[in-house]
Symmetry: C2
Subunit: 359 residues, 2 copies
């Protein structure tokens, strides 16, 4: 079966590029002496998590309880839920997950920690806990100065084992050396403050795809949790962390209308690509690989509007194009299946098993 | 079971509001002597399509072949695929659908029409065809002056029965009387041109939710295809076609972090709401029903950032809020299940069966 036999829109993964991306980051992490704990929210597929573990990942990360349940089948040695888990139903499910593998939680409040500790006790399991610290993104996490106190309080909760610190530097892009230096200083200060309080953070977990290859410049960091690097996307290119040839994922689409002069409509819109804009603020919803100069400037739910006035080639109804999305993590979540291609051949396909696991 | 027993994030539908929305539009269509053919891309659920048919809908609309297949179980008398169907696999599947119910297609090219005609002949079925006309949106559709010629050409294709005209006035909002008058003139001119060419368009199909209750002002229009009206959303309010109390759908979410002063994080972001902006261009990703003054200003994949600096109440971790999305059609497509509530009781739930049917 070749790529031409696939119906569209279809999410296709270039397996050679994906393997190269996986190997590059595994090698980097090993050489920088960093534990690699890939975030599986990007691919949502246990088969790919298993591949990441085979290449040396120390564990995996998930955001949702439902993702944790699905990822059990990848048999991770440790599973980090990098999201504050709140609510009795999720806690009960996490206790069951912790009965099957080691579970680590990143938490920023006692309000979240206490019921988790009680449930662990009652369920005869233990949760490892990292204290989530806000290092400038302003999303979740206690302020650095408050972090040792939260760790002290968590240490007193039966059922929980405090293990270290987690943070997410999503606001810092590769190339911004001043902010990177600031981050390094903040993290070093954090570790210092923990030690001054008599706490030794065994795990200092941070890292994102944009900052990935600068992780060794963050003093004290010993674990990274990149997600997007397995596929990459236009945002990763814009952040400077990869080149166009490192984008493994694209959406195969068909031209369904050329009725409006200077424009074509492809058979995917916001329900296929997501409506995520480029983080740079630039316009456009994806890059058409076969159409230099074409501009994918607008979307409706199932319609992609491509301006062809500056395109180097003409298109007719039925033509196919491959489009690299702005943000692959949200795009993957819209697809039931990924097709793995090598050359023009469809070598494999897999279900996006944790797709839509919102809870 | 009450709404408090639902895990979050969860898509909840207020059944009283939904029924009122359905009845209002069914009554309007009947009184204005318009055939109602609801677009099911909003709810993607055969159970709700069945309800629309019970209330007098003449048929239903879908965008995708996969949606057509799913909607067969609602037993529509006629199923309009309001999207140019291109590609051998989709055509083959549509022939099978046409073996089970009457199928109408909206097309804007012979390139799309001819293979459909050949397949219908070979499969011993027939397709009704509407000529899709661009009445100013600039998405799909031939120019009005070219529409009669396309209809003439389609009439010569065995397997296809030309039945009329389709268009989508998605660029015109309620209240813009000048553009509405222009639309009415364009449609009247179209019908005139068809008749002058010896063609009687039995179906003149247009209409959207924003323009819904002005459909009787479009001369010659005899069929409307609104989708969003069953639930409504912030965009519908902004378009003037509904009020806040007509929004039937909301996302139930939990506060998972209040660590950053003046802000809370809820457990849904772009994978729960979609990242669709308001069509007005205003900021914000949803309206929190229980938090006047709160501003849901930013999203990451699983994090909703709510600015509380102007909110009238305080929140703590574990609190729950209901959020009306900007655009309900893309939000529904991210959920596996909808919960139907009446008062505080969860009365029913249903699977979003055509969710993710991209092909």
């Amino acid at each position: 079966m070749t790529i031409n036999d696939l119906d569209t829109p279809a999410l296709v993964i270039d397996l050679d590029v994906m393997e190269r991306n996986l190997a590059r980051v595994a090698d980097y992490a090993a050489s920088a002496n960093l534990r690699l704990r890939p975030h599986t929210k990007t691919h949502k597929s246990p088969a790919l998590a298993r591949r990441q573990l085979e290449l040396g990942a120390a564990g995996i990360s998930v955001a949702k309880t439902g993702e944790a349940e699905v990822m059990l089948s990848a048999e991770p040695k440790d599973l980090l839920v990098a999201y504050p888990i709140v609510g009795a139903q999720k806690i009960e499910r996490l206790v069951r997950v912790a009965g099957k593998t080691s579970v680590t939680l990143a938490l920023d409040s006692l309000a979240a920690a206490e019921p988790l500790g009680r449930a662990a006790e009652a369920g005869d399991v233990r949760f490892n806990v990292l204290v989530e610290v806000d290092i400038g993104l302003g999303r979740v996490g206690v302020q650095p100065k408050d972090a040792p106190d939260l760790a002290q309080a968590i240490r007193k909760i039966p059922g929980l084992d405090w293990r270290g610190i987690a943070f997410y530097p999503g606001h810092i892009k590769d190339g911004n050396d001043a902010r990177l230096a600031e981050l390094s200083q903040t993290v070093a200060g954090l570790v210092h403050d923990f030690r001054a309080a008599g706490l030794e953070p065994e795990i200092v977990s941070g890292g994102s795809t944009p900052l990935l290859f600068r992780s060794h410049d963050v003093a004290g960091l010993n674990e990274i949790r990149p997600g997007t690097y397995i596929f990459n996307d236009l945002n990763t290119i814009a952040s400077g962390a990869c080149a166009l040839e490192d984008c493994a994922a694209s959406v195969l689409a068909t031209v369904v209308s050329t009725a409006i002069p200077g424009q074509m409509i492809i058979d995917g819109g916001s329900k296929t690509f997501s409506s995520d804009r480029l983080s740079s603020g630039e316009g456009g919803f994806g890059r058409l690989m076969e159409a230099p100069g074409a501009f994918f400037h607008r979307m409706m739910e199932e319609h992609g509007f491509v301006d062809l006035t500056k395109a180097e080639r003409r298109f007719t109804v039925g033509d196919r194009v491959r489009v690299i999305p702005n943000h692959i993590c949200v795009a993957v979540n819209l697809h039931e299946v990924c097709y793995g291609i090598r050359g023009g051949e469809v070598e494999t396909c897999w279900k996006v098993e944790a797709r839509g696991r919102l809870q």
